[in-house]
Amino acid sequence: MAIATASLSPPPGRSLFDRMARRAEPYLYAAPALILIVTIMLVPLALGLSYAFRDVQLLKPFSGGFVGLDHFRTLYGDDNFYRALRNTLWWTGASVFLQFAFGLILALLLDKPFAGRALVQALVFLPWAVPTFLTGLNWAWLFNPVIGPLPHWFYALGLMSEPANILSDPRLAMWGPIAANVWWGIPFFAITMLAALQAIPRDLYEAAAIDGAGAVRRFTSITLPFLAPTIAITVLLRTVWISNFADLIIVMTNGGPADRTQIVASYIFTQAFKALDFGYASAIALVLLVLLLAYSMLIIILRQMMMDRG
């Protein structure tokens, strides 16, 4: 930009308007993109953040005044928030771990050639294409003993004393949305891991086999190091997405029973669209944003360290 304006320095003896127009030229070129970014990204972000410091309640027409850090003080003593935070850790940790584990196993299986592999690959990636709303409803029905088979199977296997709906059991309810989430999210890991696996040169495995490495050693000393960067970035992305991902919980349990499946994201949704307290919801969202930013920075630093070492 500095170079551009320098080379466009006004020739002497022109009118004032001419000179101003020439000065403004580069900014005018950049303006359309900048205006778009500011209006659709920065303004809503700033507005949302500002709600966190204001009293915005839809049912109170005269609300909207500046309240400073009041929302955060309330939040500090809000037991529901802490439970939601703990639930978020559980929900995110279990979902990401299971999605990753099953996704990796699936990718390893699909990496081996067999008859009809193309068809199986296409089928395996299907859940990713199902809308999350539908996924949630489908799994809620599967867990429902009146129309779904799962409770009866669990009962037959002796896992349950009676064919009950786990979504209404405070101790087990979280596993409902987690199961749905794992089913829905496995393809993401399977696709990315499969792509990374197929980029590993085959003769490395052959060289290792000749060098004396068994199947387990080949996996730990060739497959894992090659997959590590992909694993790091996908786990980071999924963690952020899943901790923000309230659709399945809203559809399947709506945070219940007794708030046992309420995660921070669904708590924000409840505060904003059920209690209609936009100010408080924004304050919680701000805290979640800061936590996720800190987590992302941590992973990026870790990854950088790994890359430097490698």
Binding site: P201, A207, A208, A209, I210, D211, A213
Partner: protein
């Protein structure tokens, strides 16, 4: 060090047969080169010896012991790959010591083996580097070092020089030969490059379409090719072939070319009078002579100076025919030249393409 015996080995990929019964006995310390065009099955044979491909039928023995069912790691062989197949996340020393570490060898033993191999290959200053920080030639050396460290019964090379540029290839070729002299290890080397085959091998195995065409010393293959394939494959520029009919006159054989020219052969052959034969003569053996009536006239299509010598692309009876000469006057040749074929350099093949018996 070990001998390797291959008896009647066949390989099918589904319904496609790629090896049709290969027999080969490789002696202790011998350097054998498998050579042939791509798709001839030479790499498949090597990978079967390594244990990377299953043997469909037949038997492979290393040091007398059948290894068909043994895993690659239990065959005590080392392999150098065309792509080098170095482990990218390990440095040079780790790459070279990987197999010993897997075998849980003593630490000082590993270090001694690595530094010994690194010394032989000039890799000492690079031991801490990772493969991506190495040049192609250095990677090639590390791949060989990885094989040497093991002190295996046999070395297997799968086109190890194909990814290098011409100058480096020559240099590494010489190094491999020197290394084999030093170590005296049994080596099997696969290449499609006949120069590599000629320069490195104690014995060459020429293969074509999954069948061994000829086994012999490099000069044996060059001087007495067993059939048209070997004759055409070994030697550059390639041997010239002329179609003719066999005639026996005055107790001596002769070949009648299609234009009626009669070429006397060095001996009589067990071929029927009038049967079709193929005459072969290498470009470097063709003599250019002053024009004589009844001499073989050829048109000059193209002159290629290589610096060392000159390749003349001729047309003989409308068919391409090459001459290689060191005589710089050939640069001025044309538009026609007269060629003659010294008898002792003529190769005679019967109508099936096999070397004719005298």
């Amino acid at each position: 060090m070990a001998s390797i015996d291959i008896s009647n080995v066949r390989k099918d990929f589904g319904i496609v047969q790629v090896l049709h019964g290969v027999d080969l006995a490789i002696g202790d310390g011998e350097f054998v080169v498998l050579v042939g065009p791509s798709g001839c099955g030479k790499s498949t044979l090597l990978r079967m010896i390594a244990g990377l491909e299953e043997v469909t039928a037949g038997e492979i023995r290393i040091d007398g012991a059948r290894v068909n069912e043994r895993a690659p790691k239990d065959r005590d062989i080392a392999m150098v790959f065309q792509s080098y197949a170095l482990y990218p996340h390990m440095n040079v020393a780790q790459n070279m010591s990987y197999s010993l570490r897997l075998r849980k060898a003593a630490k000082d033993k590993i270090e001694a083996a690595v530094s010994n191999a690194a010394g032989k290959l000039g890799l000492q200053p690079l031991l801490e580097r990772r493969p991506k920080a190495l040049s192609g030639g250095q990677r090639q050396r590390v791949a060989m070092g990885r094989a040497i460290v093991r002190q295996p019964k046999a070395f297997l090379f799968d086109e190890p020089l194909s990814n290098l540029d011409a100058r480096l290839r020559e240099q590494m070729r010489a190094e491999i030969k020197k290394l084999h002299k030093d170590l005296g290890a049994t080596s099997i080397y696969v290449t499609h490059d006949q120069i590599e085959a000629m320069t490195l091998a104690d014995r060459i195995v020429a293969m074509h379409a999954g069948v061994v065409q000829q086994v012999g010393s490099p000069l044996e293959l060059y001087d007495r090719p067993a059939n048209l394939f070997v004759a055409g494959f070994i030697g550059s520029p390639a041997m010239n072939f002329l179609s003719a009919r066999y005639e026996a006159r005055d107790g001596k054989g002769a070949a009648r070319l299609s234009d009626g020219t009669l070429i006397e052969l060095p001996a009589t052959y067990l071929i029927e009078e009038g049967a079709p034969i193929t005459l072969g003569i290498r470009p470097e053996h063709v003599a250019m002579v002053p024009a004589t009536p009844g001499g073989l006239q050829a048109t000059v299509d193209l002159i290629e100076p290589t610096g060392f010598g000159i390749i003349l692309h001729l047309g003989l009876h409308g068919l391409p025919f090459n001459v290689f000469t060191l005589d710089r006057e050939a640069l001025m040749a044309g538009p026609t030249v007269t060629v003659s074929f010294p008898q002792q350099h003529l190769h005679v093949f019967d109508h099936q393409g096999n070397r004719a018996t005298q």
